[in-house]
Every structure is written in structure tokens, then in C-alpha cells.
Symmetry: C2
Subunit: 129 residues, 2 copies
């Protein structure tokens, strides 16, 4: 935590923490007023709300976050990922492009681009509403 | 065409050519066996088929391709974009994350991440099938 990490390192470390369900460490990586926008859905504001959003998925099964590609430009980190969820009776994978903005060592914005129907199918969820 | 451009420059130039509907120039930027994968849909193989796919959208109205963010890592170029379509009676915008792989100065793979429902709504289209 004390060493100065690059934005790319911060994002990679955060994805590890998220994958392992270390929710108590989210505050190390997310600014208090961070924003998560899963583009097909409404934005989620604040690290606490983001943590809760991530917990929801983790409750359904074992999450995996595989970074296929990553490129950074200053404080901006663009990723291509496969997010997986293993449930007792099924396993699904979702292709995602995630964009992270880092400021002063913490993620302030996180935008995930994916198809909502693919996400619902991958994670065995019903459509919202 | 003769000067050596970086992968990022090639992608920016291609997006300009695409936006302006200069389809006759697609061959300068796309390898003959290039692949376009709009993630919610089946992949499109070959520069000719990609050109036809892009023409389809351009026939509907005036396209705009706005690159919000771009980062490159070697031959890989990750973008965050707003693709817009202006039609006589409506205008729509689609948030997209697009990933391009460049080899020997040409795009060989182009993967666009977006939500299909948002795309249909933005471009005034009916659902496929």
C-alpha cells in the first residue's frame, strides 16, 4: 500500500482483490466517491455502493476476473476481460471491456462495457424489472 | 500511406475514414482477413464483409465516431467511443469500447463491446431475427 504503484498496477491489483472477494480491501483501491457505471445499467455512486454491487455477484458463486489485454494512458487504464461465474450447477463467462480512471492512487471511475443479455445469461440471472 | 504510423495513429485514422464513409479506403487500414466482432453478434470475417457491415449503418444516416479515450500497448489499441447516428427524424448515440489489433500496419481484429438493446435504440433499428 505504501509504495507508489502505476495506474495499471493498481487496476490489476484491484481486479485480484475483487476476484478473491476481499471486499474489506475495496477502500484501498476505490476513492470514497468512486463511480461504477455498467453501461447498460444506471451508474452506482460511492465505494460502499460499489462494494455492495460486487458482493451481490460474489454471493451467486465463484467469480473469476481474467484480464486479456490492458493498456494505460496516464491515469486511464483500459482493459479487455473475461468475467466468469461458477455456480453449483452452471458456469458462465462474460466478455467485458472495462475502463478505469485513477487519481492519487485510487480508482475514481470504472466503466464496464458489455451486453446486458449476455451478462444475464452468463450469470444465470433474470432480467432487471 | 507510405510513412510508418503507430498502431494508435492507424486506429485514429481508420475511425476518421469510417466516420466520413470513405469505404473505398478501408483496404488501406484493414487486413484482407481482418475480423470484426461486435460482441453481442456473430463475428464478421474479411475486410469486404466488414466494409459491407459498416456501409449498412452509414446508409441509415450520418455517422459520427468520437474517440473519448485511447490507450495502446504494442500492437493493441483500446478505445472508448461514442458512435452517433443522425437520421432525418432522430439522432442516437451509443457508448462503445473498441479494441483493435494491428499487425504490419493494418487492423487484423476489431472487437466492439456494447449493449445490443442500447445499439438498437440508438440507431432506430429493430431487433435482429
Amino acid at each position: 500500500m505504501s509504495e507508489a504503484r502505476t495506474p495499471a498496477e493498481i487496476v490489476r491489483a484491484f481486479c485480484g482483490v475483487w476476484e478473491r472477494g476481499e471486499f474489506e480491501r475495496f477502500g484501498e483501491f476505490l476513492a470514497a466517491d468512486a463511480m461504477l457505471h455498467m453501461l447498460p445499467l444506471a451508474p452506482v455512486h460511492g465505494s460502499e455502493a460499489i462494494r455492495e454491487e460486487c458482493r451481490k455477484l460474489a454471493r451467486l458463486g465463484t467469480l473469476s476476473v481474467r484480464i486479456l489485454n490492458l493498456a494505460a494512458d496516464g491515469d486511464l487504464v483500459l482493459t479487455e476481460r473475461i468475467d466468469g461465474l461458477e455456480q453449483p450447477d452452471r458456469a458462465g463467462e462474460l466478455p467485458v471491456a472495462g475502463i478505469f480512471e485513477v487519481r492519487d492512487g485510487k480508482i475514481v471511475a470504472w466503466r464496464d462495457y458489455f451486453d446486458l443479455c449476455q451478462a444475464l445469461a452468463a450469470f444465470g440471472l433474470e432480467a432487471p424489472i
